[in-house]
């Protein structure tokens, strides 16, 4: 931790206005913006942690939680819902051991997010894994999808 941070700190050498650049490097280094990293820089630069947080939450690019290697997006449109997407989502979350209230598996391999209708109701339920569309999803196909994505 400290070592990574020190490198970033040296790079900007306390130049003014470097908050965003630092956060970009932090996200590069950790995959997201860890709380303690923010407090670490805040302490050294005499820049309030709240400023870092304000910036982090303003720009779409920054994530406050680590996201998985693979991103799965499940459609929650009416059609998918009727065709039982909810059940499949739960199964997927179980298989990936994603803690309740979280979106990312503890091993950090998968992030499961849900979005409103993707407009592909004809092949509902629809999942999108790493930008690839998986239609007419079933419990079985879901596990296959996970294997496929995991292999990469």
């Amino acid at each position: 931790m400290t070592e990574k941070n020190e490198q970033i700190l040296d790079k900007y050498d306390r130049e003014k206005g470097s908050v965003i650049s630092i956060l970009q490097d932090v996200q590069e280094a950790y995959g997201y913006i860890p709380e303690d990293a923010v407090f670490w820089f805040s302490e050294r630069l005499n820049i309030p942690a709240s400023s870092f947080f304000g910036v982090t939450t303003f720009y779409a690019q920054f994530y406050l939680k680590p996201r998985g290697k693979n991103i799965i997006t499940a459609c929650c449109g009416t059609a998918c819902h009727v065709k039982g997407s909810a059940g499949i989502i739960n199964r997927v979350r179980e298989e990936l051991k994603i803690p309740a209230g979280e979106t990312t598996s503890t091993d950090g391999k998968f992030t499961v997010e849900t979005i409103a209708c993707v407009g592909a109701c004809s092949i509902a339920p629809v999942f999108i894994g790493n930008k690839k569309v998986f239609g007419k999803m079933t419990l079985e196909k879901a596990s296959e999808m996970l294997k496929e994505l995991d292999k990469g």
């Binding site: 709240s50 400023s51 947080f53 304000g54 939450t57 303003f58």
Partner: protein, 354 residues
């Protein structure tokens, strides 16, 4: 006219103002009221609430008086049907995302938004749509935060960063979902907050209120007594808010030359001692190793006799008094006079050096 003064026209009346004035300042000098929500003279101009928009001759769209600098011969109109309609519309939008629970709101009677809603005769009812529904935050002894009542004027975050430089809170999020908050929305503790209550002192609505004063009475029920802080030597002024002969709250005196309404944790929240049960309320006379209550007459006669006796027995030089730099000028003067006249020595001193 001095070269620092320039002439502008406000609502048809010529007036002199300073070159570096904003339209808002100039109007204030000229005694013209312009409504504002995000303006606080302790802070840099912000231009977020848009209520201070005025018409400036030669400019197509309305300009915000708080951010626009005056210019020689500028012609400003602060009230017109168009302007009033626009302001009303802005207030309406604010109210469309506001709980509008004035009847039980701590701020009622002292709320800028409530007053504007009244003055412009609007509410938010024309817009059904999303309203914030966030829990009240009472995670510390001093400051209660009701996000739903926040109008994003940014005054709390600005005073925290511009004036106090505590950096406790900052605007977080974006757009409709932005709100003032601490880093990672953590509770306020001494780690991240000075508890000076400056944010409360500048909040125009009920979003930030003094927790200790909540429910203790409406602003208009309070007798507000302006006085000088009795802690450090800065000499800040503030108002003691008194209800039923009890001090229930301290509020800012923005006109105070020393502190312009700014206060620290002691000045704003260090008042409960006044009514603390430990207060000594009657004279006490030592009987053995105990103290027994006595009347003023009893006690003062005893003290007077005893001192006179000591003086007779040992001489004036053996008696004296200490006063304190906590006491008023009058008391200090009186003590030195008392020692020199009633006792008759120069044995008088105080802790002024500490």
């Amino acid at each position: 006219m001095s070269d620092n003064k320039i002439k502008i026209t406000i609502n048809g009346t010529e007036t002199l103002c300073n070159r570096e004035d904003t339209i808002l300042k100039a109007a204030k000098r000229a005694g013209v009221h312009i409504p504002t929500l995000c303006n606080d003279e302790r802070l840099e101009p912000y231009g977020g609430c848009r209520l201070c928009i005025v018409e400036v001759k030669g400019v197509a769209r309305p300009l915000t008086a708080c951010t626009t600098p005056v210019a020689e011969n500028m012609e400003v109109v602060t009230e017109s049907d168009t302007i009033r309609k626009m302001r009303a519309h802005v207030i309406e939008l604010l109210l469309s995302n506001h709980p509008n629970d004035c009847m039980r709101c701590e701020k009622t009677g002292d709320c800028a938004l409530q007053n504007l809603s009244y003055e412009y005769g609007v509410d938010g009812s024309r817009y059904e749509g999303e309203k914030w529904d966030l829990p009240i935050r009472e995670d510390n002894p001093f400051i209660t935060y009701e996000p739903n009542k926040c109008i994003l004027c940014g005054r709390c975050t600005r005073i925290c960063n511009e004036v106090v430089m505590a950096g406790t809170i900052e605007l977080t999020g974006r757009g409709f979902n932005s709100m003032p908050d601490t880093a990672f929305r953590k509770p306020r503790t001494l780690e991240n907050c000075e508890f000076c209550g400056q944010c409360v002192s500048t909040c125009p609505t009920g979003a930030l209120t003094d927790r200790k004063g909540r429910g203790k009475g409406r602003s208009y029920e309070m007798k507000k007594v302006k006085t000088t802080c009795s802690y450090c030597g800065t000499g800040c002024n503030f108002y003691l808010n008194v209800k039923d002969n009890k001090v229930v709250k301290v509020t800012s005196a923005y006109e105070a030359p020393v502190n312009q309404g700014n206060l620290c944790i002691k000045g704003r929240y260090g008042y409960d001692f006044i009514h603390h049960p430990d207060r000594i309320k009657t004279p006490l006379i030592r009987k053995g190793d105990k103290f027994v209550e006595a009347s003023w007459d009893e006690a003062l006669e005893l003290v007077a006799d005893k001192f006179n006796e000591l003086i007779k027995k040992y001489g004036r030089e053996k008696v004296g008094g200490f006063s304190s730099s906590r006491c008023t000028n009058e008391e200090n003067y009186l003590l030195s006079k008392w020692v020199r006249c009633a006792i008759g020595s120069n044995n008088v001193d105080n802790c002024a050096r500490v």
